[in-house]
């Protein structure tokens, strides 16, 4: 009996120690992630207006969500967010994959290192400063318009103020800012690829493009998948570029979902309605993450 008690005591002690280690982060997780998540889900079902104070809300079930589907601003923000992901992700993946492969195979070693670092730079800069710089570049007499005129486009639009061009202009900034990071990830994966396939391709007299198409691209599939998922997630969260450069305009041309959450909640105080948008965004991200998990666990089994 005594022995048993001693063991129980030891186990209790072990548990106590472990929980002390976990205390700060577990408390943080409950307070700033778990409870907020539940509040979000609940508030999204209410008509809470921040101006009427905490707790002064009516539970309206799914009214917010029903209303959203006839809200043209929401539809625009959803559409823009999806367009953003569908265009920026593949374009930057293709560009960065080609760049990484070409740099890896053909560039002088020293130049390759410098080039990679140079391209990486925008990734670590804050998006507000990047937005400020591109606002200047995009301005009517700015260098970007100048460049386009030099390339023969006699009358380039004012990109950020043009209904058609505003969103593509923001997407270009996104692609530019994320390219170096992706090139770097691809380069790191390239060095880890097995050499023997390339050697046998060399013996068979394969061209560079054939090797790229039939060896490199398939072998890099896991990296491409990873970059696709993270790319989609980050383009679902685009906020700074719209808020600084265009304020969602002109009209609703560059409204994104996070921007819509922000304005609805903190400009118009409609917390319930904004939460509904945030919840939809959450479920969109959830789908992407679940796809990633299924994919990864299938990979591990193999």
């Amino acid at each position: 009996m005594k022995k048993d008690q001693g063991r129980r005591k030891r186990i209790l002690r072990e548990n106590l120690i472990a929980w002390t280690f976990l205390l700060p982060s577990a408390v943080g997780m409950v307070l700033f992630s778990l409870i907020p998540l539940l509040i979000s889900l609940y508030v999204s079902l209410t008509d809470w207006n921040f101006a009427s104070g905490l707790g002064n809300w009516n539970f309206v079930w799914f009214d917010n969500f029903k209303q959203l589907w006839s809200d043209s601003w929401f539809i625009a923000s959803l559409k823009n967010t999806l367009i953003y992901a569908v265009i920026t992700v593949p374009v930057s993946l293709v560009l960065s994959l080609i760049l990484a492969a070409v740099i890896d195979d053909f560039c002088k070693k020293k130049a390759a290192g410098v080039v990679r670092v140079a391209m990486y730079m925008p990734h670590i800069c804050n998006s507000v400063a990047i937005s400020a710089v591109w606002m200047a570049l995009y301005s009517k007499y700015g260098p970007f318009s100048l460049l386009l005129r030099a390339l023969g486009w006699s009358d380039p639009p004012r990109f950020l103020a043009d209904y058609v061009w505003a969103l593509p202009a923001l997407m270009l900034v996104s692609i530019w800012a994320g390219l170096g990071y992706r090139v770097f990830i691809y380069s790191a994966s390239l060095t880890a690829l097995p050499r023997d396939l390339y050697e046998s391709a060399d013996i068979d007299g394969g061209t560079w493009f054939q090797k790229f198409r039939y060896i490199t691209v398939p072998l890099l599939k896991p990296t491409t998948f990873f970059l696709t998922v993270t790319g989609i997630i980050s383009s679902f969260k685009v906020f700074a570029y719209t808020n600084v450069m265009t304020k969602g305009g002109p009209g609703s041309a560059t409204y994104t979902m996070v921007y819509y959450v922000y304005t609805t909640a903190f400009k118009y105080n409609r917390m319930g309605y904004a939460s509904a948008v945030a919840v939809i965004l959450f479920f969109m991200l959830l789908v992407i993450t679940i796809i990633q998990w299924i994919h990864n666990s299938r990979d591990e089994k193999r």
Binding site: N15, L22, A118, I124, Y141
Partner: protein
Amino acid sequence: MKKNAEETVVMKKKLPLRRQAVQWGITIVIVLIAALMVAPFVWMISASFKMQKDVMSIPIKWIPEYFYPDNYFKVLHINAGASTDYHFILSYWNSIKVSTISTVVGVLSALLAGYAFAKLKFRGSNVLFILYLAQMMVPSQLTLIPRFMIFSNLGMTNTHMSLILPKIVTVSSCFMFRQAFLGVPDDLREAARIDGAGEFRIWAQVMVPMVRATMAAQATVQFLESWNSYLDPLVFLSHWRKWTLTVALDQFVSIEGTQYNLTMAASCMAIIPVLLVFLFGQKYFMKGLTVGAVKG
């Protein structure tokens, strides 16, 4: 036979030459592309030293004709003359303060949690681990409104605490540390235990030094994330005294708008220190920012 051998020798010499030409050609093209990508930064620096009327002059003068540092004085408010007070130095200080404290707090708590998940046995560890995993899927954009609700209820909006406190848990860092601690052999722990060390001493003096590389990487990631964060400070900080650099810069840009020489000087001040740190420590910086991205 001899002739044949000669031929192959010639061919071997020729091939590298052609390949070298290709190598040089492509290197030049790639360097040009990289230069084009860096050009916005160069233009930014150059414009920040120009007078307003020279900023958009055609053709672009990459080296300013008149060196005009007054832009920076205006931004820093050393010499009044800009239309509003900017207090950039103050927001600099705020950013340094918030990012440093957030990083220390975040890394420490993740070090503790990662260790517990990797090395300690306790009831509910599996459930808790799954709960942590699940939190990875909750974006901060979703919890923004409830966090605002909580902090405004506690009277804590417009404090730096509202930015620092949530950083006490960075789930991805917890996982990285768990991964790192799993790689440390248990013998070390046993040896320390036999020497009479308690669990906390083992953690602090034996285990933590073993995961220094992960620590550096996670600290870099967390610091940068905090330094560049924009939506949270924008929502939580309403008074200019509390603004971090990103919010101050945003306000500056929306007030000065088309005075590009001023906005470029302000952007330079926000970007250049980070860029310098990056360029000096780039190898280790890039490693830190890409851990977990590349398998094997």
